[in-house]
């Protein structure tokens, strides 16, 4: 059964090709069938393949399938091949399953859009690239998937290309991620030169032997890989593109900018964890980046007006949590949070899509309100998602995965108090902004009329994701609760287990540690209720007061990163391009030509035609010659 592995990415790719070739001749339903169908089939095959992998794991808990040698140049011979192990099983299942739900949702959501086929074309290409990324057996093929998803994110963000602003956001996303990709490709060069192969498993084994832990090469390789991950997963230095990426349709935000693409960085670090174990300083940096990002994005999300931008900042924050987990070598915690996050964040985005569509494209949450009775289904599913995001204790999957991360950040071998403090504050802020959205959107009096009711094909994915957001946490219960963690044992086959060996390990693992986080969440909900629920006037006064307003505006703009990048990078390049438009070097060449013309003009002035002038010139010449001869 495992032999069908190559079908999983091939099906969406085939879907893409079909849509490209038959573009003109397809009507809406046919395009929907091909688009959603191909991903559905791929999900089915994924289920079969991963099922057989889980039930009867192949030798060495990994299955390697090579289709053909991509190229063979003097020892550099990457294959087009797929590698399936516990990590990629998880990713494949999430991608295909969530992807299928979102395709189903899109068939309804994009109903009245004239670029319907083009939308599914890009979506299929995205799913195919993402699957290639997670299944690639060597870093070059991974890079192919990596850039493929970057391209699709550009195409999908600027899908409504009539409005230049959308295209600008798409371009910004592609260029910022491309900056990260440059670091990744430099990492590839370094790794190939050091260990002479890019196939992940042999490379990691060779690195294990040849790299001295903590040596410059190991740290450099790890940091370059981190550079690529930061670009794609929108972490601190390169996170400015994700909020603007909300210009794309909601299913795009759900699939790409919540569930799958932005977690590619997490996958890459988890996949190359050996490099990070060899470079402790690099791991430390990953943790720092994670913590800073989760705090920074958390506070920004607190003040957003636009519903989708708030969710975008929350995604950045949650991925910050995953990076924190990876940084403190809690690889499995990060991966677990990826899964749970994929479910509830996709749910939130899809629900947001329905809300925005219902209120005739109204994005500002302060103009929503009182939708509890109008869209009951959306209310319940959105609240479940928000609860999972805020990690409501025991009931939601977010609780299990985020608490595990918070515990790891304290108790694991690299954990320390600073990370723990950051994680706790982050959890508190997350609770605040998630329930802020719930209160503002669904409670209080209604501002805009509901014009369109969500149809069945939009609600079914919402309910499924809601159920998943509750259930999916139970597969890894913390030891103090029930000690039932099949997911951890499954992941142990591919990733090193979390060792709770730090000095606070005992406290972190105990129920007491969990109690702290639970109390933080409960207090957070209370405060959110106080701030945003009944006395709506109060909150306005609070956020309008002179002390808070500049701070709120600063957070609103994403801590000023955009402002800095615009000044440091964008304007100089634009200025130089405008100034040197017709090629400075060309002026040099034209200068030489002008010199000749000037010389010609001066010399020809000497030709007066008068005989005596010529004789005088001749005489002058003779005098010169004599002077040289005589006076030398």
């Amino acid at each position: 059964m495992l032999g069908l592995l190559w079908l999983i990415p091939a099906l969406p790719a085939a879907g893409f090709l079909a849509l490209v070739l038959l573009n003109r001749r397809l009507d809406r339903t046919a395009a929907a069938w091909i688009g959603a169908g191909s991903v559905g089939l791929s999900a089915l095959v994924a289920l079969l393949v991963c099922g057989s992998f889980i039930v009867s794991p192949p030798a060495g808990d990994a299955y390697h399938q090579v289709l053909w040698t991509w190229m063979d140049v003097a020892g550099f011979a990457p294959n087009i091949g797929f590698y399936l192990d516990a990590v990629s099983v998880l990713w494949v299942l999430v991608i295909t399953f969530v992807g299928f739900l979102i395709h189903l949702y899109s068939t309804e959501h994009m109903e009245h859009d004239e670029g319907f086929t083009r939308f599914f074309m890009y979506l299929n290409l995205f799913v195919a690239s993402m699957l290639v990324l997670v299944l690639a057996d060597n870093l070059l093929l991974l890079y192919l998937g990596w850039e493929g998803v970057g391209l699709c994110s550009y195409l999908l963000i600027s899908f409504w290309q009539k409005d230049p602003q959308n295209v600008y956001c798409g371009r910004k996303a592609f260029i910022v991620t491309r900056v990260g990709d440059t670091a990744l490709i430099a990492g590839l060069f370094l790794l190939f030169t050091q260990v002479h192969t890019l196939e992940i498993q042999p490379m990691l084994a060779a690195a294990q032997e040849s790299f001295v832990p903590g040596s410059a090469v190991a740290v450099a390789a790890a940091l370059l890989i981190l550079g690529g991950a930061i670009g794609k997963s929108a972490q601190v230095p390169l996170q400015t593109w994700l909020p603007d990426a909300m210009a794309g349709p909601s299913p795009v935000s759900a699939l790409i900018h919540a569930a799958t693409m932005v977690t590619a960085g997490v996958y890459l670090i988890a996949r190359t964890n050996v490099l990070f174990t060899l470079a402790p300083d690099a791991r430390l940096i990953v943790a720092i980046v994670g913590t800073v990002t989760l705090l920074l994005a958390g506070f920004s999300a607190l003040v957003q007006h636009d519903l989708k931008r708030a969710l975008a900042y929350s995604t950045i924050s949650q991925i910050g949590y995953m990076f924190l987990a990876l940084g403190v070598s809690g690889w499995e915690a990060g991966v677990f949070h990826f899964m749970t996050h994929a479910f509830f964040k996709a749910l939130l985005f899809l629900a947001a899509g329905v809300i925005i569509e219902a209120l005739a494209d109204e994005h500002d949450i302060f103009k929503m309100g009182g939708l509890r009775r109008e869209l009951p289904a959306v209310f319940w599913t959105f609240t479940i998602g928000a609860a999972a995001l805020a990690a409501l204790p025991f009931v939601t999957d977010g609780f299990y995965s985020k608490d595990l991360i918070i515990a790891t950040s304290l108790g694991s071998v690299d954990g320390n108090l600073w990370f723990y403090a950051g994680a706790i504050v982050g959890a508190f802020v997350t609770t605040l902004y998630s329930f802020r959205l719930v209160w503002l959107v669904f409670f209080g009096e209604r501002h805009t009329e509901v014009s369109r009711r969500p149809r069945r094909r939009q609600l079914v994915p919402l309910w499924i994701l809601a159920v998943l957001s509750v259930v999916s946490g139970l597969i890894w219960m913390p030891p103090w609760l029930a000690g039932f963690h099949p997911f951890e044992t499954f992941l142990d086959t591919a990733l090193p287990p979390i060792e709770f060996t730090g000095e606070y390990a005992h406290f972190a693992e105990s129920a007491l540690g969990a109690l702290v986080t639970i109390s933080v969440v409960v207090v957070g909900i209370g405060i959110a209720w106080l701030l945003w629920m009944p006395w709506r006037r109060g909150t306005h006064a609070f956020s309008e007061s002179p002390a808070v307003r500049p701070l709120a505006a600063y957070w609103l703009g994403g801590w000023g990163f955009d402002w800095v990048y615009e000044r440091v990078f964008v304007i100089p390049v634009k200025w130089f391009a405008r100034v040197a438009r017709n090629d400075l070097v060309d002026h040099v060449v034209d200068g030489i030509a002008w010199l000749n013309v000037a010389a010609w003009r001066t010399l020809s002035a000497g030709q007066t035609g008068r005989l005596r002038a010529y004789v005088a010139v001749a005489g002058f010449g003779i005098a010169l010659v004599l002077a040289v001869v005589v006076l030398r």
Partner: protein, 102 residues
């Protein structure tokens, strides 16, 4: 017999040549221009003869003969041109002939 040193002769030739050249530069009448050229050629010949006299060789004088022949030919053609010059330009002023202006 000739205790005159070579330099005196050459200085004389130089003076004559210089005067001829000055005339060439200043005079605008074509005939005078030709005359000045004659003076300069004559000065050249003088220098040859002086040099020949210095070493007692006949070459100096032979060269003078050639200079002489050349001067004669030059004058003949020069004057013929002067005649044509006069007819076409109705004047002998050298500056009028400047159609060759660049």
């Amino acid at each position: 017999m000739a205790s005159v040193s070579l330099d005196h002769a050459l200085v004389l030739a130089a003076i004559l040549f210089a005067i001829g050249f000055a005339g060439l530069l200043t005079r605008r009448n074509l005939i005078v221009v030709l005359a000045c050229i004659e003076i300069m050629l004559n000065a050249g010949g003088l220098a040859f003869v002086a040099a020949g006299a210095r070493w007692g060789q006949a070459d100096g004088q032979v060269m003078f003969l050639f200079v002489l022949a050349m001067a004669a030919a030059e004058v003949a053609v020069g004057l013929a041109i002067a005649i044509r010059f006069r007819q076409s330009l109705k004047s002998l002023d050298v500056d009028d002939a400047d159609e060759m202006k660049g």
